[in-house]
Amino acid sequence: MNEKFKFEKSQKITFILLIVVGLLSLTAGILIYKDHPEKIWSNILLNNYYFLAIALCGIFFVAVHKIADSGWQASLIRIPESFASYIPIAAILMFLIYFGMHDIYHWTHTESLDHILQGKTAYLNMPFFFIRMFIYFALWILVSYGLRRLSIKSDFENDNKHFNKSRTYAALFVVLFAITSSTMSWDWLLSIDAHWYSTMFGWYIFSGALVTSIAAITLIILYLRKKGYMQYITESHLHDLGKYLFGFSIMWAYLWFVQFLFIWYANIQEETVYFVQRLEHFPILFYANVIINLVLPFFVLMSRGSKMKTSILATIAAIILIGHWIDLYLVIMPGSVGNSASVGFLEIGLSIGYAGLFLYVIFNSLTKASLVPVNHPFLEESLHYET
């Protein structure tokens, strides 16, 4: 049952080419947008956050299933587990934001803060911002690597003690992520529009990240299956992943709409300004966001057959990945770049580069261990799983 993934040379070259595309468009962006450094930094922040969120929600996926004693996912759990290896790289990339703080976050201009932002300086100040960032990454890396290490260890010792120990880690991660998923979205995304606030924001960003991550897991599994690996992943497993995509898309839409409804209903100027700007200057993306992330998955993934069909599931997962990129774009860009923000070569090229980096890291870490957790106590259940 031991199945080793081999990172082929052609795949390596493809991913490195993607990274080169990203670097080229970044260089071109730096040359062209010399007077608009905020454009470059916002793009870096967007992709940092997008791929970090995929990695973190992958670990969240592992942790939640572990403490819930769920069996069906045992045979595919190595894929989200491998996302842990991206978090340290995301940390390095995130700390690069230090050089672009003034371009993205206007609360860092401490000399010209108005009354409202002065009241927020206890939380929104540079030292504390980076201390928090350091704490998040330290804890995430500690726990996610612990989960992965224990899982790989159990391949060599047929003993449930590693599994039982990893449940403690999983419980720790869920509690940790409950807090940090909110605070990280406040720190990195909400504070771009420092005057604006929304109590739904942490949930809204988290639910979007969770869908994105499940779409990424699904796509990687489908790709590996096509390559001849993981043939034990049956239609039933795909059915469940499809159900997740369907369900969490609706959860995302629910939270997105609740945030909108509250602000629309209360009609308070400080709050509505956020949506007014997005509706006036980004109407196409604004409505496309809802259509791609709710209407499409809702109608396409509704029937049982389409969740089980590889081609449909792969297409919709890819569309969801793009859709939530647009969602994040609408959160970040109007605030930091302003109304002139547009999707051009820099946005697309840099995201391609990040995708290449992410996939390179994930595939590289997949080679480190068997694709099947051979001594996982629920493995047998997962192999015979039927929906």
């Binding site: 409804l261 209903y265 009609n267 509704m302 039927e386």
Partner: protein
Amino acid sequence: MKRTNNYITAYFEDDDDLKVGIKSLLEKKVTIHDVLTPFAVHGLDHLLNFKRSRIPKVGFISGMVGGVSTLLFQTWVFTKAWPLNIGGKPFFALPSFIPVTFELSVLIAAFGMIAAYFISSNIGPGSKNVIYDERVTDDRFLIIIDLEKDNSINDKEKIKEILKEIGAKGITIKE
């Protein structure tokens, strides 16, 4: 499943025995009318070649009907029948209609599915119940073979023999 008045029942005491029994019955070309079990037996629907339920389609259609009619009703009420100025919002305030529309789509989809389920499986208020075996909700796995129709072997003695062969218990003929 339609009721029948002319049938043979036999039971097993174990779900694995039941599955083996059904397999050998099907091999001998005996058509099984229905199987009643105390709990859901995995793989039984595949074994009996049941068609997929059409309940989800009913759910989709009734959900859509519910959603659209709720939306239209609210639009009619707030723009034509009784326009109210609520917080200075326009009369056709779509965002505020969405929660009600969502809830009622879910509710009407659920009602539609329950009604369809009651009708198609002939249960619920007003339907006549036939009790094939009283212990079917307890510990018996019952096989029902219809003698009136869709049976290639129309000889009850022969079916009885086959049932005995595969180890079924409590073979009863009802005419």
